[in-house]
Symmetry: C2
Subunit: 527 residues, 2 copies
């Protein structure tokens, strides 16, 4: 039963007088539960508990922390149908998507548990002493990764499970040894509360310290701001809009002690379709992209919002095919009236720009909160001159840019803001003949895709999800995959430390049997 | 012959009308050469060249870039005695120190050359396709580190060679594949110019693109500000004061596209001396610390500015011994009149704080620009209540804090700003009996030292030089050692990319024979 209260560590609390409700976009009405926004006192209590929990939690072994993550996965499954129904009622997304996303969430938790159980991820490094070295002796120096401290996580509107309460940011921070305070996303506060209850239950069952996790409700920006400004918070994870992410980044950067903010934000994911591919498989790519643009009502951070090609007959033909295919798609429900409101507004703004033409736009009647897919076209020169066309229209929308030649195409790519992904559709020979194009695209993106679609972000070690700004605030880190743990840790060196008092990862006898860099050789041997 | 001009890529340039001179603190007079401050046009030209050079330089093989770094090392040695004499005339530091620092600089360049020649450092990772996976096939995804783009480096006043023109920041950025623009430190502009000439000469000899390196003169803050604000600059390295580093950090964070700034700034490097050590080896530790506090006139970022212990007879005795030892030290010349001016001012401010007592202060006459070492004492309560005592006094100075008990000592440690290092001097049993103290210290520092001194930063993989703010702006990265390269790179994934068009590090046949994570197993095998 959803109660609408905050979790301040292991305890529920509802001191605040401000309440709000979530919204069912399919039924076009509010859901019943009243959620209590966290008060300033509750925020401070959560951070205090988190700070105290850090000193205990950071010292736990990898296998203890792994058992916590695995218990979270189990407890989420235990929530059963209530979680799936709540998810659907707060997002308008279908049951299949809810179950798929739950699977992804569970998979992420288990993969971080697997990573930390083994413990080689702490990048242990040992340089032994050389007491006889001239002119000065060399001390024994050893290094490993340690957690930063309490981390605040802001969930995403478009991934109520996989990038929210127990999503990638929370899983990676807990795996790193950082307590987490979630600022619950107001659009799916019920889903968030259920997942929070699973985390708390797992924390109790596995003996984790009170404060290792808290979940704070909030419908506005104040709770998030207070958390990011709090001196005992040491890192921030965010998935959402550029405006929201940048505001948090600015707030964190203006603190007396600035802290790292990893914000994964907007991206229009440019796709370059070259003539060879249009000639050979134009119809197939048109159908594939009609699917990718409208997938999940276009509500993915990797949605292809920009298609680029060379003007000419192939391009005209491709646009005609794409237009035909995209109109065939059944419109679907967006997450929230605010989201479809923004979609309609941004689409209208793009359409109103001089030089844009509507190639295709679904025009039939649709139920409330359903998005009508649209494709615009524009020539390269107009696109280069009008920056407003470079911004994301979040939803089932794509802008096709027709460049007059390869030089203009490279100029367009080089002038784009940073992107999560960049795709090239071409025959291999045409790809290999255009290294400048590939080099320019690589400078602007975090992931290059050949002959595929950007939607679908595989969770694996080789996945990088995070590109140059504004697709993320720090392109050096990923939000997806096991390396996401690196956002929440820092190295610490131990010089001349007595062997028996060193952390296990650094002891001579290598009790954890992990892989370590010992005098510049990677090995699992003891010293 | 030092000409006082800027290096804009391979060419010298002196368009600006503003000039300045360096200062010889030993002779207490200005050196002769007039240095031409870079103009706005020269700054823009340097960045444009750097941007163009990036696209060529980033594609070079590891061994090509390594030959460049090795040539820089050779060319610096070729500068011979002129470099050493210029160094001494601009710093007041002795010849032995100059040669030692040159050796460190050369060593750093060669160790980065060694690292990138082998190329495993790019952290290549490969997850092969699973076309038959249900419900959706898995694409082939591969990942490696790529350089960020042009990097601006600000040299340190206190390391004219090892942390300046061709110092750790420049060496690591060039190794990563980033062109470098150095904002030359005005106190040692001649040393900087000579080293810049060596880099340019090495670039020409090894066929590096024009713009891979530039050196801009500046005596004020405007040139640095213009560089950090320039949209084509993608990263910043800085070593210096908190005020200077924070100003650059704020500037970079306020850009339309924020960029990473790694600033290594102030630190008072707390040293905790526990009773067991004072009893056993008090006299020896007093002599050792008298040496560490006055080493290089206290002008090291790891200088022990804060000694902490428990009040009592052992402490009184230790302070008396330390006072006796430190007075015996011969005062030495500081780097510049501005630096000794700040030292005298900050020392006077600390001395004027209520509750502080002078334990020892060198009172003999000294030549101009020589610093007189000083040790103050204060009790724990006063220190806790007066934050101004927590700030660095850059020079041969240390404050001894006498805590009333272990609880107060832990409170003091927990309330300190972030530090590069933290040291504990104790018998092993006393160390092992105080895990809370160790845990609290670990939370505040980047390196823990047992029974040693913080001065002396070994260059090795296990060295971490960079702690919580304000000792550095991002505790997740180091300024010393091969891992410093990680500041200037970001991962890029390649999805479904044709094997023959992948970078060599990611090709099936592993032509570079590097260590890679292939389907979650670390291996040097081909696929």
């Amino acid at each position: 039963m959803i109660h609408g209260k905050n979790y301040i560590g292991h305890s529920t609390s509802a001191q605040g007088s401000k309440t709000y409700q979530t919204f069912n976009p399919l039924l076009n009405r509010e859901n019943e539960t009243l959620f209590h926004e966290a008060s300033e006192e509750e925020i401070n209590n959560a951070v205090s508990l988190s700070k105290a929990a850090f000193n205990t939690y950071k010292e736990l072994s990898g296998s203890r922390k792994a058992s916590f993550l695995e218990a979270i996965a189990d407890e989420i499954m235990e929530l059963g149908d209530e979680l799936i129904q709540t998810y659907c009622s707060e997002s308008g997304l279908p049951e299949g998507r809810a179950m798929g996303e739950r699977g992804r969430t569970i998979g992420q938790l288990r993969s971080f548990a697997h990573l930390i159980k083994e413990e080689s991820w702490v990048d242990a490094s040992i340089d032994t002493a050389q007491p006889d070295r001239a002119p000065i002796p060399k001390a024994d120096i050893r290094k490993m990764l340690v957690p930063l401290g309490p981390v605040v996580v802001f969930g995403a509107s478009n991934f109520p499970l996989a990038y929210s309460t127990a999503g990638g940011d929370t899983a990676s921070a807990l795996a790193a040894g950082c307590p987490v305070i979630v600022k619950s996303h107001p659009m799916h506060a019920g889903t968030g509360e259920l997942v929070a209850s699973a985390i708390i239950s797992a924390a109790k069952k596995t003996g984790m310290p009170d404060g290792v996790f808290s979940n704070l409700n909030s419908s506005g920006i104040e709770v998030g701001q207070s958390l990011v400004k709090h001196p005992d918070v040491k890192g921030v994870g965010f998935t959402g809009s550029i405006r929201g992410g940048r505001a948090l980044y600015d707030l964190a950067a203006s603190r007396e002690e600035p802290i790292p903010v990893f914000a994964e934000m907007g991206s229009i994911n440019p796709v370059i379709i070259l003539p060879s591919a249009m000639n050979k498989d134009g119809a197939e790519w048109a159908a594939t992209y009609a699917g990718s643009i409208t997938l999940g009502s276009g509500q993915f951070c990797t949605n292809p919002g920009l298609l680029l090609g060379l003007d000419g007959d192939e391009m005209e033909h491709f646009v005609a095919q794409l237009s035909e295919e995209i109109i065939k798609k059944e419109p679907s429900c967006m997450l929230h009236p605010n989201i479809i409101g923004a979609y309609e507004k941004n689409k209208a703004m793009a359409t109103a720009q001089a030089g844009t033409d509507v190639a295709a736009s679904y025009s039939e009647e649709v139920p409330p909160n359903f998005a009508r897919q649209t494709v615009l076209t524009v020539n390269g020169k107009t696109f280069l001159e009008n920056n407003s066309l470079h911004h994301e229209v979040f939803g089932p929308f794509s802008l096709v840019v027709k460049a007059k030649d390869m030089t203009e195409l490279v100029e367009i790519i080089s002038g784009l803001e940073g992107q999560l992904t960049g795709t090239i559709i071409a025959e291999e020979e045409e790809l290999s003949n255009n290294p400048t194009l590939v080099g320019a695209l690589q400078n602007r993106v975090g992931r290059l895709i050949y002959n595929g679609v950007p939607t679908g972000v595989e969770v694996c070690p080789s996945m990088h999800h995070g590109g140059p700004y504004p697709s993320s605030t720090d392109s050096r880190f990923t939000a997806v995959g096991i390396h996401a743990i690196k956002r929440w840790v820092r190295p610490v060196s131990y010089q001349n430390w007595p062997n028996n008092l060193l952390p296990n990862a650094l002891k001579d006898e290598n009790p954890l049997k992990i892989s370590r860099l010992v005098n510049q050789e990677q090995t699992k041997d003891e010293l």
